[in-house]
Symmetry: C2
Subunit: 198 residues, 2 copies
DNA sequence: CATAATTGACCGATAGTCAGTCAAAAGGAT
DNA sequence: ATCCTTTTGACTGACTATCGGTCAATTATG
């Protein structure tokens, strides 16, 4: 038998090879030829590993999200207050320039999923959502155990996720000052959920 | 001098003439030729009134948002509870099939703004955001005056807007059950903001 | 030599352009 | 007022450049 390449691995490799130009130009301003040349492969080969041009964004976002999750886990396992945990949960992804560049590509991915999303993309989004929902639920549960916040807040998990996604979108579409929005929100929100008795 | 047409009006007219096919196919699956034919004008004429293909979506969304605002105002001036007002604020836009169709096109508009938004689009989004922020602030203020809810909630306005936007996106990208999310959220959220003493 | 992998010339679709047409209005001469 | 000329802006669709995606041919591998 001839050589068998690890399709999944090569898919990732190609996407990663194009990471820089993807971040710089975005998928809309890139041609398949440019992508192929950057990855050092022929144009036709691209289609061995990707369904179409947009699919490349999907792959690189997969990588980004996984890195993002690691960073988040890293921060959340620190010994910080419940309030700070919620803050970081909301703020990570907006904190430095590199994250902001990645967000731009993530927005392109959202745009693709919204307008021509495949089953796989939706499945991936649901999976991510569940993963991050678990994280925030843990923050809440931990906060309740510590006696920092009220009972029953697990049910706000989903809303916090939607809130963060909304921020990601609005930061771009309506020029929102993200950090300001988050601190504003949190300062009031936390007084609402804080356990009042001593 | 030759005939002078009201450019702004004609822009709206063309977009409205294409309303149905826009809702049915979305801008991605429409060609300029198809659009021009539907509007009963030449292909070149389209570019007299629109910057590019996507600009047509911008125009029709302008119309939709204005209708949406009217509907919302209509509902909010009814004599209903603060909780119901917040519910409708969140829920309108998801309520019937026609609204859902319009939402699909709105998502395309969001996608466009996120990936290749113009100054005008961002300005429009900010303006809309401010308008709707005012509405929700009024709901809160009214609720506070009635003694239904705690003081200081105006500062949550912005967060509610982001939350709703997040829902709009996630409904599509992660197959979310919107109504469920809203009622879930509201049942807990409202107990948090409700005025406790009698 | 069989099979997997790669390739880039090629194709079809289409967004956007532009040189030219047309009709309405303005102006001027009578 | 009427006719004719000129001007102007709206409108048009054939045309072009671009580019995503395909596939027959080629190369590499074991």
């Amino acid at each position: 038998m001839a050589i068998i390449v690890d399709k999944e691995q090569k898919r990732t490799d190609i996407a990663c090879a194009c990471k820089e130009i993807l971040l710089e130009y975005g998928i809309k301003n890139l041609t398949i030829s440019h992508i192929a040349k950057t990855a050092g492969i022929g144009k036709g080969t691209v289609y061995e590993y990707f369904e179409n041009k947009e699919d490349i964004v999907f792959e690189i976002i997969t990588v980004f999200i996984s890195e993002y999750e690691q960073r988040l886990l890293e921060v959340l396992k620190k010994d910080i207050s419940t309030k700070e945990k919620i803050f970081y949960f909301l703020y990570i992804g907006f904190e430095d320039e590199e994250s902001k560049r990645q967000l731009t590509l993530y927005r392109e991915f959202l745009a693709i999923t919204m307008t021509s999303g495949t089953e796989e993309m939706v499945a991936f989004n649901i999976e991510c959502r569940n993963k991050f929902a678990l994280l925030i639920t843990d923050i809440f549960k931990d906060g309740m155990q510590r006696g920092d916040i009220c009972e029953g807040l697990e049910h706000l998990t989903s809303a916090l996720l939607a809130f963060k996604l909304g921020l990601i979108v609005e930061t771009q579409t309506a020029n929102l000052d993200t950090q300001r929005e988050i601190t504003n929100f949190l300062s009031l929100f936390y007084t609402l959920i804080e356990k009042k008795d001593t």
